[in-house]
Symmetry: C3
Subunit: 340 residues, 3 copies
């Protein structure tokens, strides 16, 4: 069959996220997505910002579609933003909080997914403690369903990265002349991994990570970043300061002497922030630990864009959901045409 | 008052499910429903299959109605299918997960129900560990509310039975020449009880149950089935093989020597399936225990229609909900007319 | 700036609930609201009673608005009524069940609220174990969000009081010639506190409380009520008997000798009810403890209007939500106009 070649190509790992026309079909990671596509996501999100400010915050793009929040790892916060985004797109939303234990066997996970699929679900929003779970789901079980990664293990949190990019673009115009620094626990952070990929794909000339050795992944330079152990040096000439949430459970595993020690060296105080450019913006993925990775004085200052990030989170999720749904439908229509 | 006679007749136990015009008003069990009415449910469900395949999976039949999922026994899976069905009918859905403990006294159960009713609920979808609870609710407390049984104790699971019937009809055309075998724990299964009633009411000439003595109810022949203890004999000339989920907690109560022993005698392998007709279809209410009551090779084979059952589950629930709502409204309108 | 004065006035504690035009903007307590405004709430609720009786129980007043149920104290019952009310107003509803523990620090509560706000929420329905929490939220963190108090500590439960007032008005026409008695645990009851304020604001000439000393707040007379320790004397010539739920956990703290003792002295039996006027109505906020604060014979008698209260609860919540939303929007529009 002459059509099998492009179909096969479309499901190869590197372009699992795209349909045969190069449109978004699943949103699993920043990796492998072009600057053009990432820019299209940001432009689409920009148009949804306006929807959030309207009196009637509702567009009919996903009307009659079923969005299932498959949360294998609990997260009220992230689930709420996806639920709100889906409802503002007029979708029907089903929340499934799944204990990992009851689906510990890959086999029963597959069965559960095939069931959800058979109920004519159109989209799975997946949160999972294991890296790669959303890829696995997109690859193995969902010919008809668009999959959105809402955070998987230490791997990726691509909607978080895109809302960060939208926030940067709103405040700095473009990425082309920026120096961006990410401070904190890079090693365990899916957020940082996705941020670095997005910043680089969008053409940011200099991305820095600032952390102690114990919180840096092996061969971190391979990600295309400059590494600083010293905060003062790392913040010099920086336009955007991205802080990360310090996972307190990591501290307990003795990767750092203490919270107080982390704060002394890497906690962002107003004084330390002066080491960056005077018009630098400060970001945080939330929820913030005030007085640990960031001071209240900084979090509440005019340089902080933390609440803009939250607002942009809804818009970016609306953008990604509507784009993936439309790419998925284009793929389905095309694959039906070529069948005899 | 001349109108009291028909009203009284309509609320007599045997026709509690029907309004004065013989239309569905509550859906509590297969028992007592005519072949015509069951066929109407299947035909209505057929029309909703098409809705699930549409781009906009939504019809306005229950718009502005309030459907309350009253789950006294937790079941994410069944609740989700009812929630989806109700949302695709455009209803407002309220999920109530009620611990049985807090309503252990019949009195407070009644008060809770009257409260839900006073909130202008239109439909209760009831799941309860006690057999007869949905009947009790339909009979005692709901002049204005349609009640749908989503599984009660060992008694009935009528929407499951009807989705099974829809699946059989799709694959075999009609029930008139079929031999159907149900394998497994008949004793504890509300699914099997409802399946047997539906198969017989729809005119299936031969319904078999295949199980060890310990998993058969007393006087099982009274249900109108042929009983087999031997799988090979039971499967001979069978068109439809219905497997049941093995409740692992039953095994612990020593009704069978072991899971392995059950599998050896009654687990459906590809080899054993050859004892049935070559075009026999295989069904399971889900979730499946692979390698216990059914082999993966069988569950994933072309003879398996397990995922069709899931898809049909939404359509059947939409059918039953919309029919009961319209029967309930016809009854209400008629009972208001006859009042002075 | 000439406009700063009215803006400041509008946010002063005593009129935090009202916008610059004197319209409802938040609904936090009965205290400080005029007879005219309370009457407007009742009139608006009356119009929603009709919606609940319609075939399509839906009005588009909150279409495209996001209502967040922020329940810091679990209450399925109250949450359900707000959820239903919001859905019948066509709002998108997000349920947030928040353990008090995770937001024990005021700081992180504020951050959480600012986050919900940044997601373009339009209304918070707040239930909290601490008195004053909804005021705090309305005052500190929500320039754009209307706040509805769904019960805070021992302080207030204003929607409960208003549904009670609606019920009284339906049965007694007006408040001007009524004698109303509230029986039971006045000390711990936010319901009683709000009822007393509402009854007095609406012009009820005589409001009585009937309770043992241990269940009366200090200086209870200051609330403008007559105090009775004896049920027979207290019920004499009464038009409306309001019973309260006896919190069993209070009994354990030895404020009363026993449940049986409370019942003997203050439990409302048919016999004791005869001490009131023959056409007195009996109310209870639910859920009722039959045989403790009220007898079944009374709860189910024609004098009982307990289920009317439940029905009115939806209508009153729809009224308060739609009025606060429209007052909030008028305030926002006005405050934008005066900016340069």
């Amino acid at each position: 069959m002459s059509s099998s070649a492009p179909e096969h190509a479309a499901s190869a790992p590197q372009c699992l996220q795209l349909n045969r026309f190069g449109q978004l079909r699943h949103f699993l990671s920043i990796e492998g997505l072009s600057r053009e596509l990432l820019t299209e996501i940001l432009d689409t999100a920009d148009s949804f910002i306006e929807v959030g400010a309207r009196s009637i915050k509702k567009v009919p793009l996903l009307r009659g579609k079923t969005v299932v929040n498959l949360f294998f790892e609990p997260s009220t916060r992230t689930r709420s933003t996806f639920e709100l985004a889906a409802k503002r797109l007029s979708a029907d939303v089903l929340n499934m909080d799944i204990r990992t234990s009851s689906t510990s066997k890959g086999e029963s996970l597959l069965d559960m997914l095939r069931n959800m699929e058979a109920m004519a679900s159109d989209m799975f929003v997946v949160r999972h403690a294991q890296s790669g779970a959303p890829h696995f789901i997109a690859q193995s079980v969902t010919p008809n369903v668009a999959v959105i990664n809402a955070g998987d293990g230490r791997h990726a949190h691509p909607t978080q990265a895109m809302l960060d990019m939208l926030t940067i673009r709103q405040h700095k115009g473009s990425f082309e002349n920026l120096t961006v620094a990410i401070i904190g626990d890079i090693l365990h952070s899916r957020v940082a991994r996705s941020q670095i990929q997005a910043l680089r794909a969008l053409g940011t000339p200099e991305v820095r990570v600032i952390a102690p050795n114990t919180l840096l992944p092996a061969e971190v330079e391979r990600l295309g970043v400059k590494v600083y152990r010293d905060l003062k040096q790392g913040l010099k000439d920086v336009d955007v300061v991205m802080t990360l949430r310090l996972q307190k459970e990591r501290m307990e595993s003795a990767l750092l002497p203490s919270e107080a020690e982390f704060y002394r060296l890497y906690g962002l105080s107003a004084e330390k922030l002066r080491w960056a450019k005077p018009d630098a913006i400060v970001m945080h993925p939330g929820p913030i630990n005030r007085g640990v990775e960031i001071d209240s004085e900084v979090a509440d200052s005019p340089q902080s864009v933390i609440l803009n990030q939250v607002t942009n989170g809804i818009a970016v999720r609306m953008a990604v959901m509507s784009m993936a749904m439309s790419g998925q439908m284009a793929e389905m229509a095309a694959s039906q045409e070529v069948r005899p």
